[in-house]
Symmetry: C2
Subunit: 193 residues, 2 copies
């Protein structure tokens, strides 16, 4: 129990610092110090900083997956409304951070694509996991005739995610939510039946 | 002349290394060594690594701007074809690098949003410059009745750019061009009249 608690603490701290400063700018030393654990314990849990990065991504995605799945399974409202609420929630979250930190998956994809195959592969797996939940909701929307079906649910899910990540990148430079508002207006116009 | 030549060499090297490794992972020492110039010269040209980052972005954008402007002003083909050629060219460029490095503007927006206001502001200015050329081409497409006009040319340009940057991020994790192909199919379907 003690050990498990410790690992989660370190992964949470990793998520927080990696999101704010990026993977390369963060040293293992900084993680260890802010968790108050000895170096030996860190390397007991994780073989390397790269492995720690992979585990942090997996932990982050596990939490996101649960939240997104719950939000997108709420059968009290329409699939379109569920998806809109999901994206509006993410926009609000980013606005509360003044659009400075973004999403760990997007940041790691951007920063580590040419530097670590293991991290890239983990990001790929994680992005697919989240996109698959969005695709299920879109599939429901297509069956209810709310959404266009000349593209597959997976394609429309990927389309929405690409539009969102592009808008997020723009918002990070611009420090306002205009690009997100445009994303909502254009993308939902595109996917609707 | 000698001085000017040197500055451009350093900016080119900065662009190359920052694109491959990111801003934070690259030390000034590495730039200096690969250019074969003394440290004093670097700090004669640039007050800090941050200033060097800003100048590198400006230099990179200046080149991109000229290329994009030329490509998108070719009146021998339709505005839609010009835009398609532009994006297909960028996709091919990224494919040739195995989707590992991406665009300096996107990378810097992602990596530096929470770390440097000066760099963020420069990225914002640079992204706007490129988007404005795309908007001019879309404006022509709207006037020729090729493209929808229930959104402004600036909005559609931003929409295309967001979709492209989102697809690029996905391609970096996935290491193939599927997300780009989806971008082309969906986005050009959306902007057409």
């Amino acid at each position: 129990m003690y050990k498990k608690h410790n690992i989660e603490d370190i992964l949470e701290k990793g998520e927080e610092i990696f999101r704010k400063k990026g993977f390369n700018k963060t040293g293992v030393e900084e993680i260890i110090q802010s968790c108050g654990i000895p170096k030996g314990s860190f390397y007991n849990f994780f073989k390397s900083k790269e492995e720690f990065g992979v585990k942090t991504l997996d932990h982050y995605t596990e939490k996101q997956y649960k939240t997104v799945k719950e939000l997108l399974s709420d059968s009290d409202i329409s699939p379109t409304e569920r998806l809109m609420n999901f994206y509006l929630g993410m926009i609000e979250f980013n606005e509360n951070e003044n659009f400075s930190y973004g999403c760990l998956l997007g940041n790691m994809a951007q920063e580590m694509a040419g530097l670590s195959e293991r991290i890239s592969a983990e990001v790929d797996r994680d992005l697919r996991r989240i996109t698959s939940v969005i695709a299920s909701c879109i599939n429901e929307g297509q069956n209810k005739n709310e959404m266009r079906n000349d593209f597959t649910a997976e394609e429309l899910a990927q389309y929405l995610q690409n539009g969102f990540y592009g808008a997020l990148l723009r918002a990070k430079a611009e420090k306002n939510k205009e690009s997100f508002q445009l994303f909502m207006r254009t993308s939902f116009e595109f996917i609707k039946k």
